[in-house]
Symmetry: C2
Subunit: 430 residues, 2 copies
């Protein structure tokens, strides 16, 4: 068993937190922004300091590699992203990058023998906060391996044309990419020809590890999900002049529907949990009404519905309830639902998951099996090469916000677990 | 009894509908826009054709006056606005302007004797669609007479600084006003020194006259109202990673509150109606959630609540329910309410209302007493000089939209009722 260095990890956390520092504890570090370039420079500086070879590919992913003893062996890679959401925290993405760096630094410092080349990686533009969509670059790189209904959303040319959602000096993602110095040849992309395994460490972004008193989690899968828009159509009239009984109020319809949907979903969840399965999660994060004027009865209200669970049978039951409710009129308004996207559950590689679990156990960490409700680059990568993820305990379950926090100790624990799992993979693969 | 001309009224309706024609049956005619200037030119042309004298005041209100037989008598004015909402209809506002014009044209054509000068008027910027707020210019002109809590919202300097809500060649209302040729001296403003009565004809904007089979309504009052914002505060977390029971979902809180509020308000309304009073109307037209991202549980949701009824006791009961519900937690979220504005019921002048009712009856029109749920310039003017309103039947109760419609016959009927009521006022006042 090898252990990573708390001191070295703490230093990285402190240093990377300055790149894009928004002044109140968190960061805004859009992909390919000056702040992200600072983080990439730091990655180069620290990796070159241990003798790693730096490469970039055509979509600005970065690879720092320590050669192994077998010149023909494929690489084992540990990576995540260095970009953040607007006013995000100091851990989402960069923890996985720092973990890869820390593993290589430990291997170098302690001269740990390994057959395969070991690579620390930065995936470009995972958040998609400036240039949507999220997981853009893993979607591009893994495109040939994704199910067609997913692949179509990440076509290279379309992604290059992605327009910024906030202030930017570039008109689209392609221009930002053309301007970065961290661009290399397409041959440098991660691929099954040259890579045999991918590990992504990440903060949990939920409260489960904390609530269970565990430090780290061995991620089994990324939950399947469906995301629908739910639209109600009535008609507008003046708030002061139109009798209550004649109204077709689209917002009141939406509110009534939401309350009934919650009641039905909570009842279904009780059944799901009673059957021994984890609960499904469901969220309405977005609502828009038209014309959205305080003196006008809304003629249209549209909200999003996001439902996630590993088991397709559970998702189907949730979908059936949605369809049943949508078939009715609500407050004299018509309801229509439309699929935005759907994805199946992605199971991580059994061998790699096993190596992670063994390592956590052998290190004496408090750990558990856990599911990922969020999407990550690893989920696309899993379609291409054997892949798995490790989670670190997240304070109060908060992420994508400035109070997002993982203790230095838990960051180091997830790095140590990654290191030992990587060494098991190093032995396992030819 | 005198009657206005259906043919002349139809011609005006057809002509004014071309100014700002949006190409699908309605108009967009923002205040002081080129389209509104076309309408003002037409007003001048037609009023000069019957020998009326044209005046403008410092806030671009326009007055066309036929002198009466008594050189010392104060003016009787009939007016409304010529601006519209975006993609509005061909009647809101302009019907009251055309009514004033039609009355003067009838008086001129039939040589009807009158003691007082009779004035047709255009009020500037009633809708406030380009430069908010609504009823801006009547708020400025009547400012000294308004209750202080209303007056403060219409201070001249603040109104001049009002920024456009849509494309405009001007930076603010003051600049638009400086550029218009329909600007004159402040002395020309409507005032109690020079005016003894104001009549405003308007379309009902609701379905009550149509449902009762009546052509016109004698408006008794403008309902008092309160408008509040209702805010729910929870916290944001990731839609895929946060357990349902730990969520503080501000949108679900808002939806639950809205459904309960509707239940309580409908029960209160049943009591109000059982006691012989008209129902109160209540509307949530606006809702905004933060951050409004489909994968993030909202940490804040704010909606508007607009409640209208003539009786302050009924409004107080509605307010008590709002306060009672707001004192509770909703789905683990805190609720806070904040007053946006409140106005008392404005009762129209009893004499003028009586003249309108007598005229409608004597003309053999199908008419009824009616209340106004919407605000109008007449409501501010009523604080300054004796004022009343007449309503015309509105197809399907629709207004502020392109299908807004009043038949030519009903437009002519409301003009005839105005003419005869004006002649009664002409006899009544010294």
């Amino acid at each position: 068993m090898y252990k990573c260095s708390l001191e070295r990890m703490s230093d990285k956390i402190k240093t990377f937190s300055t790149f894009g520092d928004a002044g109140h504890g968190g960061i805004t570090r859009y992909s390919l922004s000056p702040a992200a370039h600072q983080a990439r420079e730091e990655f180069v500086k620290r990796m070159e300091a241990i003798g790693a070879k730096i490469e970039c590919d055509d979509v600005a992913c970065m690879y720092a590699t320590l050669e192994g003893t077998d010149p023909n062996a494929k690489r084992i890679v540990m990576g995540s992203h260095c970009d953040s959401v607007k006013n995000g925290g100091n851990y989402d993405g960069i923890l996985g990058v720092m973990t890869g760096m820390e593993v290589l630094e430990t291997v170098a410092a302690e001269n740990i023998p390994h057959k395969h080349p070991l690579t620390a990686m930065i995936w470009t533009n995972e958040e998609g906060s400036l240039y949507p969509p999220a997981m853009m670059v893993s979607g591009i790189i893994c495109n040939d391996y994704l199910p067609p209904e997913l692949a179509v959303n990440f076509k290279y040319d379309n992604m290059m044309a992605s327009k910024p959602m906030d202030d930017s000096e570039f008109a689209n993602f392609g221009e930002a990419l053309a301007a970065t110095k961290f661009k290399g040849p397409k041959e440098n992309r991660i691929s099954p020809d040259k890579y045999c395994a991918m590990f992504e460490a990440h903060l949990e972004q939920g409260p489960i590890l904390e609530d269970e008193g565990n430090e780290v989690g061995a991620v089994q899968l990324v939950m399947g999900m469906f995301n629908y828009s739910v639209k109600f159509s009535g008609f507008s009239a003046h708030a002061g002049t139109f009798p209550m009984a004649k109204r077709h109020d689209a917002l009141y319809a939406a509110a009534s529907f939401l309350v009934e949907l919650h009641n039905r979903y909570d009842a279904l969840n009780a059944e799901v949990v009673a059957s021994g399965q984890p609960e499904f999660v469901y969220t309405t994060g977005e609502i828009n009404v038209h014309p959205c004027i305080h003196t006008v009865i809304p003629d249209e209200a549209v909200f999003s519905l996001d439902v996630r669970h590993p088991d397709p049978e559970v998702r189907k039951k949730a979908m059936d309830i949605l369809k049943e409710l949508a078939a009715k009129d609500w407050c004299l308004c018509k309801c229509e639902i439309e699929e935005q996207w759907v994805r199946d559950t992605v199971y991580f590689d059994k061998n790699l998951v096993g190596f992670v679990e063994e390592s956590m156990e052998e290190l004496g960490l408090k750990w558990q099996k856990i599911l990922s409700g969020a999407g990550h680059d690893a989920q696309f990568c899993a379609y291409m090469i054997p892949t798995t993820m490790l989670f670190a305990r997240t304070k109060d379950g908060l992420s994508h916000c400035e109070p997002e926090h993982v203790s230095d100790e838990d960051c180091t624990a997830v790095a140590s677990a990654t290191l030992n799992a990587v060494l098991k993979a190093d032995k396992f693969y030819d």
